[in-house]
C-alpha cells in the first residue's frame, strides 16, 4: 500500500529540511572555513596547525564524513516514521 499524497508531501518536506541543514554545514566547513575565512581562521592555532589550513586539508573531510552518517541515521528514522521504509 502506498502512503497517502498528503503524507508523502510531509515526508518530502522533512527530507528537504534535512538536506538544507546538512548542505548548509557542508558549505560552511569547506567553502567557508577552508576558503573564504581561511585567513581569519589561520590566526587561531591548534597544536602545530593553523586552523584555516587544518579545515582545508583535514577538517572539511572529517566533517563531510559526519554529515553523510548523520544523514543515513536521520533518513532511516524518517523512513520508519512515515512507513516508507523497505523492510
Amino acid at each position: 500500500m502506498s502512503p497517502s499524497p498528503s503524507k508523502m508531501e510531509q515526508y518530502w518536506k522533512k527530507n528537504l529540511q534535512t538536506l538544507a541543514i546538512l548542505l548548509f554545514i557542508w558549505f560552511i566547513v569547506s567553502f567557508g572555513c577552508g576558503i573564504l575565512w581561511v585567513e581569519e581562521l589561520n590566526s587561531i592555532r591548534i597544536g602545530g596547525f593553523k586552523l584555516g589550513f587544518w579545515f582545508a586539508q583535514q577538517g572539511a573531510i572529517y566533517a563531510f564524513l559526519v554529515l553523510i552518517f548523520v544523514y543515513v541515521v536521520r533518513m532511516n528514522k524518517l523512513d520508519k516514521e512515515f512507513n516508507v521504509n523497505e523492510d
Binding site: 596547525f49 586539508q57 583535514q58
Partner: protein
C-alpha cells in the same frame, strides 16, 4: 631477495588474486554484467567505490601536487571528497530507487526522450574515454619504473589483466576485484606514511604528525613556511590562487565527482535505497583514509627533500636521491658550479628539479624501509590504476550495448546483449590501450575536461530530474547542450587554441579552465529552468515516476523493465 624480485613477486601475487576473483565471480546475465546482480553489500560497495574512485593520479601524484602547491592543493582534497556529500544526499538514493542500470537510462526515462538519452551517452563516453587513457598510461608508467619494462609492455600487460576480468566478469567481477584492490592500495599507501611520520614527528598517525613538531621542536608546517620563504617560494600554508578561483575549482571538482558516471553506477549495485545511502558513507570513509594522509605525505616529502638536498654537496647526497636521479624523476644541474645543490623558486638559478610522483614513490626509501615495501607500493599504484580503468571500461561498454544498442533494437535477447556488452568492453580495452601507448598530447589537461563536463552536463539534469517535477525534456536537452558546449569551448580556448593566454588576467572573472565547470553548471541550470517554463510540463506518467523515486518503499532489484 633483491628489490626487483620483491616487486615482481608482490605485483605478480596481486595480479593472481585479481584473476582468481574474476574466475570465481564471472557474470552470467546482463543484470550481473551491468550491476553485479544488484546484490552487493553496502560495505563491499563502499570499498569498491573507493578503489573505483582513487586513480593512479590520486595514488601517485596527488601528494606531490600538494607538496608543490601547499594550501592551494586543498582544492583537490575538499573537491574530491565533498562531492560524496552531494552524491549521498542528492543523487545516490533516488537513482537507486529508479532502479535501472545506467545514467543515460535515467536521463532517457525521466525526460521521456531518446534524444536526451543519446546526449547523455555522448557525455558519458567522452568523460570515460578521456579518463581511461590516463589510467592505462599510469599502468605503463608503474611497470616501467618498477619492473624495468618498456612503457608499451606495461600497458599491454595491464590491458590483458583488465580485459580478462572486466570482459569476463562485468560489474560482478569488477566489484570484487576492486574490493581486493582497495585493500592492496591502502596498505601500500599507509605503511610508508606511518613510518615517515614516526621518524619526523614521533607520531605514528600521519594526520596528527602533520601538525606535529620536527627536530628542534618547531611545528613542521611553520618550519616549511620558513624554509620555503627563505628559498623564495610562497608560504606552504597560504596559497597563490585567488579566492574566486579556489572557490570555483573546488565547486567544479565536487559537482564533477558527483556527476561521474562510473561512480554513480556503483550505487545501482546495492539491494536497497538505504544501502545506497550507507555505502556512500562507507565509500567516503575509505577514501578519506587516503585523502587525509596525502597532505601529510606532501608536507613530510617536501621537508625531507629540502633537508636532504638544499645546500648539500652533490657528491654526498643520500642514496635514495641518487637512485631516483637515474629515473630522471630527480634532476640536479650544478648551474653555478659550487658543488652544492641550490633549490630556489627562481627558475634561472634553481638546480633541483623534482617530479611530483617522487613524494609517494620514494617514500619507502626515504624512510629506509625494507625492499618488500617498495614492491608493495608498486602493487598499490597498479591496483589504483587498474581498478579505475576497469570501472570506466564498464561504463563505456554498458553505454554502447545498453544505451545505444538496446534502445534502438529493443528486441535483442539478453544473451545477445551480453555478448555485445562483452565485445564493446573488449573494444574499449584495446582503444584505451592504444591511447595509453600513444597518449594524445593533452593527457595532463583532460582531468579538467572530465570533471568540467560531468559538472556542467550530468549533475544539473539529474538533480533537477529528481527535485523538480516541472523540468521537461526540452529544458534538459537545451541545458545539457549549453553546459557542454560552453565548458568545452572555454577549456579548449585556453588549453589548446591560445595556451599562451592561459593566465589570470585573460580568464573570465579570474576563473581558470579547471574551475569553469562551475559556471557551465550554473548556465545549464538557468537554461534548463528557462526553457522548461516556456514549454509544456512533463506528461503524467513522468510525474508519477518522480513521486515514486522520492520514497524508498518498493525498490526492487535494478531491472530491465
Amino acid at each position: 631477495m633483491d628489490l626487483l624480485a620483491w616487486t615482481y613477486l608482490l605485483v605478480g601475487l596481486s595480479f593472481a588474486l585479481y584473476l582468481g576473483i574474476a574466475i570465481w565471480s564471472r557474470a552470467g546475465s546482463t543484470e550481473e554484467f551491468y550491476v553485479a546482480g544488484g546484490g552487493v553489500s553496502p560495505l563491499a560497495n563502499g570499498l569498491a567505490t573507493a578503489a573505483d574512485w582513487m586513480s593512479a593520479a590520486s595514488f601517485m601524484s596527488m601528494a606531490g601536487i600538494i607538496s608543490f602547491s601547499g594550501y592551494d592543493g586543498s582544492v583537490y582534497l575538499m573537491g574530491w571528497t565533498g562531492g560524496y556529500v552531494l552524491l549521498a544526499l542528492l543523487l545516490a538514493p533516488y537513482l537507486r530507487k529508479f532502479g535501472k542500470f545506467t545514467v543515460p537510462d535515467f536521463v532517457g526515462d525521466r525526460y521521456y526522450s531518446n534524444k536526451a538519452r543519446v546526449v547523455a551517452v555522448i557525455c558519458a563516453l567522452f568523460i570515460s574515454f578521456t579518463y581511461v587513457a590516463g589510467q592505462m598510461r599510469g599502468v605503463g608508467i608503474v611497470f616501467s619504473r618498477y619492473l624495468e619494462l618498456p612503457i608499451e609492455w606495461g600497458v599491454v600487460i595491464g590491458m590483458a589483466i583488465v580485459f580478462f576480468y572486466a570482459v569476463l566478469g562485468g560489474m560482478k567481477g569488477i566489484t570484487y576485484t576492486q574490493v581486493a584492490q582497495y585493500c592492496v592500495l591502502i596498505f601500500a599507501y599507509m605503511v610508508p606514511a606511518i613510518f615517515i611520520s614516526m621518524q619526523l614527528t614521533g607520531n605514528p598517525i600521519p594526520q596528527l604528525g602533520l601538525g606535529g613538531d620536527v627536530a628542534g621542536g618547531v611545528p613542521l608546517l611553520d618550519k616549511l613556511d620558513g624554509v620555503l620563504g627563505d628559498l623564495g617560494f610562497a608560504d606552504y600554508t597560504s596559497g597563490t590562487k585567488s579566492i574566486p578561483d579556489l572557490f570555483m575549482i573546488t565547486l567544479a571538482l565536487m559537482v564533477g565527482t558527483a556527476g561521474l558516471p562510473h561512480v554513480i553506477v556503483r550505487f545501482f549495485t546495492v539491494p536497497k535505497v538505504k544501502d545506497a545511502r550507507l555505502s556512500a558513507g562507507y565509500a567516503l570513509a575509505f577514501i578519506a583514509i587516503l585523502y587525509t594522509t596525502a597532505p601529510a605525505i606532501a608536507a613530510f616529502g617536501m621537508y625531507n627533500i629540502i633537508e636532504s638536498t638544499s645546500e648539500k654537496p652533490i657528491d654526498q647526497l643520500p642514496e635514495w636521491v641518487q637512485n631516483w636521479q637515474q629515473t630522471k624523476l630527480i634532476q640536479i644541474e650544478d648551474k653555478n658550479g659550487d658543488g652544492t645543490v641550490q633549490y630556489l623558486a627562481d627558475p634561472a638559478s634553481n638546480e633541483l628539479r623534482i617530479d611530483k610522483d617522487i613524494m609517494v614513490l620514494a617514500g619507502p626509501e626515504i624512510a629506509q624501509l625494507p625492499d618488500w615495501v617498495v614492491g608493495l607500493v608498486a602493487a598499490g599504484a597498479m591496483a589504483a590504476a587498474l581498478s579505475t580503468a576497469a570501472g570506466l571500461l564498464l561504463v563505456i561498454s554498458t553505454s554502447i550495448s545498453r544505451d545505444l544498442f538496446k534502445t534502438f533494437r529493443p528486441e535483442i535477447s539478453d544473451k545477445k546483449e551480453l555478448r555485445i556488452a562483452r565485445l564493446s568492453a573488449a573494444g574499449a580495452v584495446i582503444l584505451a590501450g592504444y591511447f595509453g601507448i600513444n597518449p594524445p598530447g593533452f593527457v595532463a589537461e583532460v582531468v579538467a575536461f572530465a570533471f568540467g563536463l560531468a559538472a556542467s552536463s550530468f549533475f544539473p539534469v539529474i538533480l533537477l530530474g529528481i527535485f523538480s517535477t516541472r523540468v521537461n525534456k526540452e529544458g534538459a536537452i537545451a541545458g545539457m547542450l549549453t553546459g557542454l558546449v560552453f565548458t568545452i569551448s572555454y577549456i579548449s580556448y585556453f588549453k589548446f587554441v591560445y595556451p599562451e593566454l592561459n593566465t589570470a588576467e585573460h580568464w573570465w572573472w579570474g576563473i581558470s579552465p579547471e574551475g569553469i565547470g562551475s559556471l557551465g553548471m550554473a548556465l545549464n541550470f538557468l537554461v534548463c529552468f528557462g526553457v522548461s517554463w516556456l514549454t509544456p510540463a512533463p506528461p503524467s506518467h513522468v510525474q508519477q515516476l518522480i513521486q515514486e523515486i522520492r520514497i524508498p518503499k518498493g525498490a526492487g532489484k535494478a531491472s530491465n523493465h
